[in-house]
Every structure is written in structure tokens, then in C-alpha cells.
């Protein structure tokens, strides 16, 4: 009798457990699933690290404030290690198994290009945090990107060069997706700006010293050097130029936006000129700047929480989530097609990189004014003035 009773109780407990788990699942299904692919480790970890931290921080904040249209966000972060093949399998996993509404990331241009078609074919929104123009040109209806355009960065650099009377430049790029895309834009736009590229060289991202390639540049009598790469070459270039006595202005890409690179470059970094979003100089902005409030707040939140300096890369993830949330709010739905359409029609959304105005043809939404020219003075970023 006692034994039988025990059995009944056991069955009841199992049944109850099942019920609870079903209810829990149902509650979970209410949440909006958002995938994220970031290079948290590996060579591009300086991008993916702040991106993942920012996304987690922002999702927590949104959920604390009650979510979007009453629904919470469930963020699923995957680490690609900066590798294309990982990005591809993670994207498939997020789409097929986790059935996410949208994917934020990947961190690098190469990874994004590898999964662009997968997202388009599976009608899953992709909000890339990588810079290359190829991501949104040609436009794929489900693919967006949040960093400013390479071509606008190049245009801004050429503007400054013109003002400084620089005519003949040397270009060095890293031989990865970011460097190659930048090199292409520089080559395409130089003629238009009346600037001659005397020499253009690509070096290996693993190179431990760049004096060799810079010696070659020096032999061409250039008025300025443009370097298009991410770490650690960015800080090496400045040092190596000074070491071989190549005393011309150094321009870097918008990938230079992290005070750590300046610190790694030491005093050689002073005078480096580069285009960048306004996040790094948020406090220096005039009070009437529409971005100032958001930038200062994000900077404060991030730096107090993670005890490290904010970088523009985290900002790209911030913008990606912001755009997605705005799209879902406007669409009043979590239907992929409706959200996608809503994002295409976002106008005047203030983000960290600039003010986004999307159209069906422009899936980046940022103009040239999203860039401010910055320079390094006494180891700090300041706004560049002619």
C-alpha cells in the first residue's frame, strides 16, 4: 500500500515537473530571440570583446525597462574567434536551431561577407558591425550594417589632405578583408580628389615589424602615409615611421578608434590623423550636438560597468541593437519581413556612429557627416582642426 502510494506520488511529481518545464518553455517563447556572432577571442578580439559586452549590457537594460512592446529580448551570443568558417556554422545554427529574429554582428568584414547570402536566403535580418562597403553594396534586402562607410572615411581623409596641400601619398594596408576593402576605396577615390597614390602595399597581419615596407614607401618621396588595418600593426606603423625617419603625416582608418592603440604606440602616435565617430570625444562635443547625450551615457555606463575604456566597436553593436529595437517597435510585430521593412524606413535615429536614415537602397543610413576627423595630442584623442 505504502509502495503504491509512493509510486503515485512519484508519477505526480514527474507530471508536475513536465508541466513546469512546458510552462517555462512557453514563457521563453514569448521572448524575442536575437542572435549575436562576435569575435570575442582570436585576432579580432579587440572588436568582438567590447561588442559582446555592449550587447549584453544594452539587452539587460532594455529588459529591465520592460522589454519591447512588453516582450523581453533573449540574446544568444556566439564566439566566432574571428574565423569565417565558424561564422558560417554559427549563423546556420542560430537560424535553424535557435530560430532567431535577427543576427547582430559579425565583427569583421570577411565573416560578414561569408554569411551575407545565408541570412538573405533564410530571410533572417543581419545587422553587421563590420565596416566594408561590400556588405551593403549591392544591397541585400535583409542585410544592414552600422559602422560608417569606408568610402566616406576615405573622402574625409582626402578632404583633410587637400586642405593641407598633400598631393602624393603612400598607402599600406593589412592583407585581410578590412585592409583590402580600404585599399580599394583609396584607389578608387584618389583620382577624383586629385591625389596620386605613389605606392600601395599590403603586408601580412602577422608581421612583427613594418620598417621594411615603410622603407619602400619612403623611397617614393610621399607627402603622407595612409595605413588601413587593425591591431597590432596600427600602433607599430607610427613607431616604425619615426624610427626610419619618415617624417610625414600619418593617416589611419576609422579602425584606429581605441585609446589603447595610442597607448601602445607611445609618443610616436602623437599627430596621427584619422576619421572616427564621435564616441571617443563625446565630452568635447558642444552641448547642442544631437548625439552628445546618448554618447556620454553609453560611455559612462560601459566604463563604470566593465572598468575599461569605451571603443567605437562596442558602439557598432549598440547601434545594431538600437536599430533592431526601433524596427520591432515601429513594426509592432516580430515578423521578420515586417521588421525588415520597418528598419528600411527608419529616419533620424540617433546612434553612437551617427544619425541613421535608412532607405531601401541605403542599408547603412549614415552620411559623411557621421565622421569627425580626430587627431592624437599628448596621448589623447582631440578633434582635428585645420
Amino acid at each position: 500500500m505504502v509502495k503504491q502510494l509512493a509510486k503515485v506520488v512519484e508519477v505526480l511529481i514527474v507530471a508536475l515537473a513536465l508541466c513546469v518545464s512546458v510552462v517555462a518553455k512557453a514563457a521563453d517563447a514569448q521572448a524575442i530571440r536575437v542572435g549575436a556572432i562576435f569575435a570575442v577571442t582570436g585576432g579580432a578580439a579587440n572588436l568582438g570583446g567590447p561588442e559582446a559586452k555592449t550587447a549584453e549590457m544594452l539587452v539587460e537594460k532594455i529588459n529591465k525597462e520592460g522589454g519591447i512592446n512588453g516582450q523581453k529580448i533573449e540574446l544568444i551570443v556566439k564566439d566566432s574567434g574571428g574565423k569565417k568558417e565558424n561564422a558560417v556554422s554559427l549563423a546556420k545554427q542560430l537560424i535553424e536551431e535557435d530560430k532567431v529574429l535577427a543576427i547582430i554582428g559579425p565583427s569583421t568584414s570577411g565573416e560578414t561577407m561569408a554569411i551575407k547570402n545565408i541570412c538573405q536566403e533564410n530571410k533572417t535580418i543581419l545587422l553587421s558591425c563590420a565596416a566594408a562597403e561590400d556588405i551593403v553594396n549591392p544591397v541585400a534586402s535583409y542585410v544592414f550594417k552600422t559602422p560608417q562607410k569606408d568610402s566616406d572615411a576615405v573622402r574625409r581623409i582626402f578632404q583633410v589632405m587637400k586642405a593641407k596641400g598633400i598631393k602624393r601619398i603612400g598607402v599600406i594596408t593589412s592583407n585581410d578583408g578590412f585592409g583590402m576593402a580600404g585599399g580599394k576605396q583609396l584607389a578608387n577615390l584618389a583620382n577624383l580628389a586629385g591625389i596620386t597614390i605613389a605606392i600601395s602595399e599590403a603586408y601580412d597581419t602577422q608581421d612583427t615589424d613594418l620598417t621594411g615596407v615603410l622603407t619602400k614607401v619612403k623611397g617614393q618621396d610621399v607627402n603622407a602615409v595612409v595605413n588601413w588595418s587593425i591591431v597590432p600593426a596600427q600602433s607599430m606603423v607610427a613607431k616604425n615611421m619615426k624610427q626610419i625617419g619618415l617624417d610625414v603625416p600619418l593617416f589611419q582608418s576609422h579602425g584606429y578608434g581605441n585609446i589603447k592603440y595610442v597607448q601602445a604606440g607611445g609618443e610616436a602616435a602623437n599627430g596621427t590623423i584619422f576619421p572616427c565617430g564621435r564616441l571617443l570625444i563625446a565630452e568635447q562635443l558642444p552641448d547642442n550636438n544631437p548625439q552628445k547625450k546618448l554618447l556620454v551615457e553609453y560611455k559612462k555606463d560601459y566604463e563604470s560597468r566593465y572598468k575599461e575604456d569605451v571603443s567605437t566597436f562596442g558602439g557598432h553593436a549598440y547601434d545594431a541593437l538600437l536599430i533592431l529595437v526601433e524596427g520591432i517597435k515601429k513594426a509592432r510585430s516580430t515578423d521578420k519581413e515586417k521588421v525588415r521593412e520597418a528598419i528600411e524606413n527608419i529616419k533620424g535615429l540617433v546612434g553612437t556612429a551617427g544619425i541613421f536614415n535608412f532607405t531601401p537602397q541605403d542599408h547603412n543610413g549614415l552620411g559623411m557627416d557621421a565622421f569627425e576627423m580626430l587627431t592624437v595630442k599628448d596621448g589623447k584623442f582631440v578633434i582635428y582642426k585645420n
Partner: protein, 296 residues
């Protein structure tokens, strides 16, 4: 090309070559004692540099480097005792695969301890912009430090392996472990010692090159590949040959860079390696008979 330019290319070659050379030395020590290639050598470099960078926040640079070298030496010994010594049937291939595993383990551990950021030690003399000018071309004083430290290490190692009892005992272990044991050599201790020595020298190398190359948790592998290439080029087991081969490869790369697209320099160094492996498997400076004996 005018003279200063040629000299400048040479300096660029020497800079890169000196880095290859100092990395290659570490490979030779463990090879001399065990006949295996330690693929975790690059990680020893990075661990050493990372430790020195952390210590340098509290103590002056020379003390920080000294502590880092000592600590990495201990880590090297522990790695051997924990992983290598436990292998029941230590064939060369098995041991090499284990060192690859160790390298991955150390890399991930460093990611967790120090995160993904790029760091570097300060320049030993002057700053990032100070240079020494010779014949109208410039070279960073740090490169002279790298060359100097390599020279000191080589000058210490060569007599150690040739003339001291411990050094000769280590080489005996690599040649024929069983015979060495029959002669009364404590072979296990010799292998441990070789790991400690190469870890310590690796740490020193990592510290000296850190101002030039900067230090990031995952840089070990790419440094190790070049160092390994150079060690083979020179002839495995011979530290002096490694330095010569390193400088040579650096200069060849700089010359290729000056005449062709920069992208070709990697291809050229691999072609050189293949040619050497085909025509002089014992390395440029190695003796054929020795190589033949080793493969027995």
C-alpha cells in the same frame, strides 16, 4: 637605390631576422635533449612577456624581466613533469602532438588571465621614436638589444652543450636515451631541465622583442612558425646556426620586399625552406652525418 636606402633595407631585415633568430634558439634546446620539437615554444615567449608586463607595474623593468624568466622557467618544468613525463610510450610523434596541445592550453589560459588586448614592455633604451643612425639609415636601439641578448644566449649555450657534463648528458639523451640511461644519466631530469632552460630563454626572448612586436595572447603560434623555420634552415640543434639563418632569412625577405610586392616575401621564405629540406635536410650549417644519425 642609394646607399642609405640599401642600408635601411638591411636594417629592416636585421630587425625581423633578429626576432626570428631569438625565437629559434629555444627550439634547439629541447631538440638537443629530446629530439622533439616543442610547438609550445611560442607560448613560452608570450607568457614570459606577459608576466614581465604585469610585474613591471610594481617593480623596475630589469627586476620584472628577471622574475618573469624565473617564473616561466618553473612553468616550463611543471609542463614537462605534468604532461611529457606521464607519457608511457614516448615516441617523437606522440610528444610533438602533446606539445601542440600544451600550446593551445597555454594560449587559452593566457586569454583568461590577461584578456585579448595588445600590450608591450617599454623600450629598454630610449622610447619608441629614438633611433641609432648608421650610414644615413636608422635602426631602433631595441634591435641592438635583441641581437645582443641573442649573442649572449648563444655564447652561453654553445659551450654549455659542448663542454659541461650536464650539457653533454642532455645531448646523450637525445642521441640514444637507453644508452644514456645505462651510462648513469638521469634522463628524466635532463628532459625536465631542457624544458626549463628553453622556457626561461623563451621568456627572455619574449621580453626583449616585446617593445618591437608588442604582445598579444595568440601571437605565440605565428612567432613559433617562423622560429621553427629558421631553426630547420640553420640545422636543428645548433643555436649559432639558428642566429645566422634568422638574420639571413630576414635580409632575404627585406631584399624581396624592396624589389617585388610585399606579399611575395612569405612565399620566398617558404620556397627557401623547401629547397633546403630537399637538398640539405640537415640545414644550411648542419653536418650531414649528424642528421643521418639522428634519423636512425
Amino acid at each position: 637605390m642609394n646607399l642609405p636606402q640599401v642600408v635601411q633595407y638591411c636594417f629592416a631585415g636585421i630587425t625581423v631576422g633578429s626576432i626570428y633568430a631569438i625565437v629559434a634558439i629555444g627550439f634547439n634546446i629541447i631538440y638537443n635533449a629530446t629530439g622533439i620539437i616543442n610547438f609550445a615554444q611560442g607560448e613560452f615567449l608570450i607568457v614570459g612577456a606577459m608576466l614581465a608586463i604585469s610585474f613591471n607595474h610594481f617593480v623596475p623593468l630589469p627586476v620584472a624581466i628577471f622574475l618573469a624568466v624565473v617564473l616561466t622557467t618553473i612553468i616550463g618544468g611543471l609542463v614537462e613533469i605534468v604532461f611529457i613525463r606521464q607519457v608511457r610510450n614516448p615516441s617523437v610523434l606522440r610528444l610533438i602532438v602533446i606539445t601542440i596541445g600544451i600550446s593551445i592550453l597555454m594560449r587559452e589560459a593566457m586569454l583568461h588571465i590577461w584578456d585579448e588586448k595588445v600590450r608591450s614592455l617599454p623600450y629598454f633604451t630610449g622610447t619608441g621614436v629614438s633611433t641609432v643612425t648608421i650610414l644615413g639609415a636608422h635602426i631602433s636601439p631595441q634591435v641592438l638589444w635583441v641581437l645582443g641578448v641573442s649573442a649572449v644566449i648563444v655564447m652561453g649555450l654553445t659551450p654549455f652543450f659542448r663542454f659541461t657534463l650536464t650539457g653533454r648528458a642532455m645531448r646523450a639523451c637525445a642521441d640514444d636515451r637507453m644508452a644514456a640511461r645505462l651510462c648513469g644519466i638521469n634522463d628524466r631530469w635532463m628532459v625536465t631541465l631542457s624544458f626549463m632552460l628553453s622556457a626561461g630563454i623563451g621568456a627572455l626572448a619574449g621580453c626583449v622583442i616585446s617593445p618591437i612586436t608588442q604582445t598579444q595572447y595568440d601571437m605565440g603560434a605565428s612567432l613559433a612558425i617562423k622560429g621553427f623555420t629558421v631553426a630547420i634552415l640553420g640545422g636543428l640543434g645548433n643555436s649559432m646556426a639558428a642566429v645566422a639563418a634568422g638574420l639571413m632569412l630576414g635580409l632575404v625577405e627585406a631584399f624581396v620586399m624592396s624589389q617585388f610586392d610585399v606579399a611575395y616575401k612569405e612565399a620566398v621564405s617558404i620556397v627557401i625552406l623547401l629547397l633546403v629540406l630537399v637538398f640539405r635536410p640537415s640545414g644550411l650549417f648542419g653536418k650531414r652525418e649528424i642528421a643521418a644519425m639522428r634519423t636512425l
